[in-house]
């Protein structure tokens, strides 16, 4: 279990997560899908990770702790899969579909990353999952999306970065295009899949109708071409890699005694301030402070900056300059990040223990929510670790509410929308499903559900109505 080091934990109060009561079924493997499901879990959702019998292949991803049992050595896997309970479920086997259905019926979000068409070949495409649970959000994370000329193409971190346009504009004009290091493609796609799933959940809870979110890793990265693209759409100009930039105030790395700094013009303080940072009055000269003159004298200026920085510590320069409100950065790697006083003060890292590998410091807190802080409640699961616990829970938990689609007995309180265009079924304004018994029994709620009846038609709640409802009486129950 986690031994937290952040201020939220120090407060001693385990505030409920923002997504308390939300249930996620994670069928995905690799980086993007599992990262998205973990982020949703960090916000308080209950996540069940269902792995194929051989385990998620990400269990083999470096870095691997020496001496740990095979399949339990990957620290990257631990990073992608905390806040989840783990079961084994072979969804390719029809015999497992009954249990899959029981899980789906009790989930709000399902994340999957099977190749397009694979779930359909097994008889369980998203349409079937949503028939089992009409309010379900299915988030499919694939290399290029479910359909289209590239839908059956295979991706890799490199190929995604290449096809996204990022590499065309990265690196030097006299050298090949350059990619981001490590595994940015999967992690960026995971961030997108997390927010898109929560946006769809927001809609699903408002009107009782689920959604199929079809996310493409390729497009998540192509979204970073936002500014570059406008050169073409407004001028017909194609951007490419720059000639090696000479101006040391353009942000490129400037070598120091023990690392590199990055200096950018355009900060809040005048550039003359560097005279104090570098203890050299030459920086006050308009030869260097005016952008046009600096361009004209760039070689000389670069030599000056490099000479001044050569014998200084990168961090010392960064702190000195930043305190004087100069726009600076410094190249940091793992040792610097782990020792960083700002990250310590922010409670960024947590030490998370695991029976197979021991404890390590993990980067945890990306955004800080004041009322419902993110927490690591569970370390990543060993393969099948929670098989029995989840099976028992499925036996005890009622399914999510299912709106009736045909005329039913007097117990059904869902009505067809009376407007002529919407053919969907909406929950009736004065009746709510009673979760204490089963989904098929309904009771008259003393609290209106927020739907309004106008001109004989039921309208979904507006934000104003939702707020009034939330303020008026007791908090909503979590199992409906």
């Amino acid at each position: 279990m986690s031994v937290a080091g952040g201020p939220e934990a120090a407060a001693g109060v385990a505030a409920p997560g923002a997504l308390a009561g939300v249930r996620v079924l994670d069928l995905s493997t690799g980086i993007a899908g599992p990262f998205a499901a973990r982020l949703i879990g960090d916000f308080g959702a209950s996540v069940v990770k269902a792995e194929p019998p051989g385990g998620d292949p990400a269990r083999q991803l470096a870095p691997l702790a020496a001496g740990a049992p095979p399949g339990e050595a990957s620290l990257f896997f631990q990073y992608l899969n905390w806040n989840k309970r783990g079961i084994v479920l072979d969804v390719s086997d029809p015999a497992a579909h009954a249990q899959l259905r029981r899980l789906v019926e009790r989930s709000d979000i399902l994340v999957e990353s099977f190749a397009p068409g694979q779930l359909a070949r097994w008889g369980i495409p998203a349409t079937v999952l949503m028939r089992w649970n009409p309010r379900l959000v299915v988030t499919s994370v694939t290399d290029f999306g479910q359909t289209g000329p590239y839908a059956d193409h295979r991706g890799s971190d490199l190929v995604h970065q290449a096809m996204s346009g990022i590499m065309q504009i990265s690196g030097s004009a006299d050298r090949p295009p350059l990619k981001h290091g490590l595994n940015q493609a999967g992690l960026c796609a995971g961030l997108n899949a997390a927010y898109a799933s929560l946006a769809a959940l927001h809609c699903a809870l408002a009107d009782g109708v689920g959604e199929h979110v079809d996310l493409s890793i390729h497009e998540a990265l192509a979204s970073e071409l936002l500014m570059c693209e406008t050169y073409y759409t407004y001028m017909g100009a194609v951007q490419s890699r720059r000639l090696p930039v000479q101006d040391p105030f353009a942000g490129g790395p400037v070598p120091t005694r023990d690392g590199f700094i990055s200096i950018q013009s355009g900060g809040p303080s005048p550039l003359e301030g560097y005279a104090d940072v570098f203890s050299n009055e030459a920086f006050r000269s308009p030869r260097y402070t005016s952008s046009a003159q600096r361009t004209a004298n760039v070689a000389e200026f670069r030599a000056l900056v490099e000479a001044c920085a050569r014998d200084r510590s990168a961090k010392e320069l960064f702190l000195e300059g930043s305190r004087r409100r100069m726009l600076m950065g410094m190249v940091q790697g793992a040792p610097e990040l782990l020792a960083c006083e700002q990250l310590q003060a922010r409670g960024f890292f947590e030490r998370i223990d695991h029976p197979a590998t021991g404890a390590h410091l993990f980067p945890v807190h990306m955004a800080r929510l004041s009322a419902t802080p993110a927490r690591v409640r569970l370390r990543s699961p060993q393969l099948g670790e929670h098989q029995a616990e989840v099976a028992q829970e499925v036996r005890e938990l009622p399914p999510r509410p299912v709106p009736g689609r045909t005329r039913r007995s007097r117990a059904c309180r869902w009505k067809a929308c009376a407007c002529s265009t919407c053919r969907r079924w909406w929950p009736c304004p004065t009746w709510r499903p009673c979760s204490a018994t089963s989904a098929r029994t309904w009771s008259r709620s003393s609290r209106p559900c927020g739907w309004t009846r106008r001109g004989g038609a039921c309208s979904p709640p507006t934000w104003t109505a939702m707020r009034e409802r939330a303020r008026s009486t007791v908090p909503a129950s979590t199992c409906c």
């Binding site: 997504l19 981001h180 790395p253 410091l361 990306m366 955004a367």
Partner: protein, 355 residues
């Protein structure tokens, strides 16, 4: 007026340096008293608290500080910035996830909250492999350009055309055998059958693949290599993306109408499709002060006379207070700097927005 506007707002987004709103009495702690249900997201470089919270920051400087630059760069070369404004995108996506989580909590409790989003923390969370490798054995991933530590070949290779490249990643020995078959090089399949052997002989492996790809059209090469089940694709530029048939099928770019003389322009939308609903660009970005009166008229007590008073007092501006001359460069200057490399005079026809 800001407080009056607040009465109509569910969410406030801001990215001032932390002390600024505090100084104006408009920090979250002040605003929540007026509107307990308010969700406020404050985006800063280093976070709203801590010894660095007042430090200025921007995309390039943050990219270095957050850790990604240390692991990006040509083999044996300096740390490198990659892409444009990478920290901004990852912070945007993280912020959206936090916002929807906070909206969910609002629905359950009626209470809002403050989201303190630190771009530094978002970036540092995306280099976990390095942070963990360092703890295991004191080493760090090296900068190896476009290569992969384990999979060989995985690289970009020059293809036919000016500055055209193809990327591919061979992950398994079976894929390598298939690629050697396509290259007509059974000797390579034999000599470098094992992934470990390929990893120890990157030079000859890369050279062989490069020789095969050199005269191929990048998109043709993609189709041939993908047909073998191997990840492969061209290094695409912005024109390639705007004209790509797959992205057209996906509806990735949306047509948005701007006031004349700009007219219709394609804009990138979002990286996902929904089956039942259609998130889309339903309103272009506003012109400066475009909706001043329309928004103020919605507020209770804001009569025409009051609005005109505010405009006269320059509390509300119809035109900027300070006019900085735009520093945009013309095409000739951009070409000279190699900030752009080609210009299509017929780009409107290509994009289907001519006339």
């Amino acid at each position: 007026m800001f407080r009056d506007l607040l009465a109509t707002a569910d969410i406030v987004l801001e990215n001032f340096t932390p002390r600024v709103l505090r100084g104006w009495g408009l920090h979250y702690e002040d605003l929540r008293k007026i509107r307990p249900s308010l969700i406020m997201l404050s985006n800063t470089g280093y976070g709203a608290t801590g010894p660095w919270s007042s430090f200025p920051s921007q995309g390039t400087t943050l990219e270095a500080t957050m850790g990604i630059s240390a692991y990006s760069g040509y083999r044996g070369d300096r740390p490198s910035k990659v892409g444009q404004s990478y920290p901004d995108f990852i912070a945007c996506w993280t912020g959206l996830a936090a916002l929807f989580a906070a909206l969910h909590a609002l629905r359950a409790t009626g209470q809002g909250q403050w989201i303190d989003l630190s771009m530094y923390q978002v970036g540092a969370a995306l280099v976990p492999e390095a942070l963990l490798q360092y703890q295991l054995d004191g080493t760090q991933p090296r900068r190896i350009g476009n290569e992969h530590e384990r999979f060989v070949p995985s690289n970009v290779y020059p293809a036919r055309g000016d500055d055209r490249w193809v990327a591919l990643t061979v992950e398994t020995d079976a894929q390598w055998a298939a690629l050697c078959g396509a290259m007509g090089r059974p000797d390579l399949a034999r000599d470098f059958a094992d992934g470990g052997v390929r990893a120890a002989h990157r030079g000859p492996v890369d050279a062989a693949v490069a020789a095969w790809l050199r005269e191929q059209d990048p998109f043709e090469a993609m189709r041939r290599v993908q047909a073998l089940g191997i990840a492969c694709g061209p290094v695409m530029n912005s024109r390639d993306l705007l004209l790509d048939p797959h992205l057209a099928h996906r509806g990735f770019h949306e047509r948005v109408l701007h006031p004349q003389p700009v007219g219709w322009r394609p804009m990138l939308g979002r990286p996902y499709r929904w089956s039942l609903r259609t998130p889309r660009v339903h309103r272009r970005g506003p012109l400066y002060a475009e909706h001043n009166r329309e928004i103020l008229r919605e507020l209770p007590g804001y009569t025409e006379a009051r609005i005109e008073q505010l405009v006269a007092a320059r509390v509300v501006c119809d035109a900027p207070n300070i006019v900085k001359p735009p520093e945009s460069m013309g095409i000739a200057q951009l070409l000279a700097l190699h900030a752009v490399c080609e210009v299509d005079a017929d780009y409107r026809e290509k994009l289907g927005i001519a006339g």
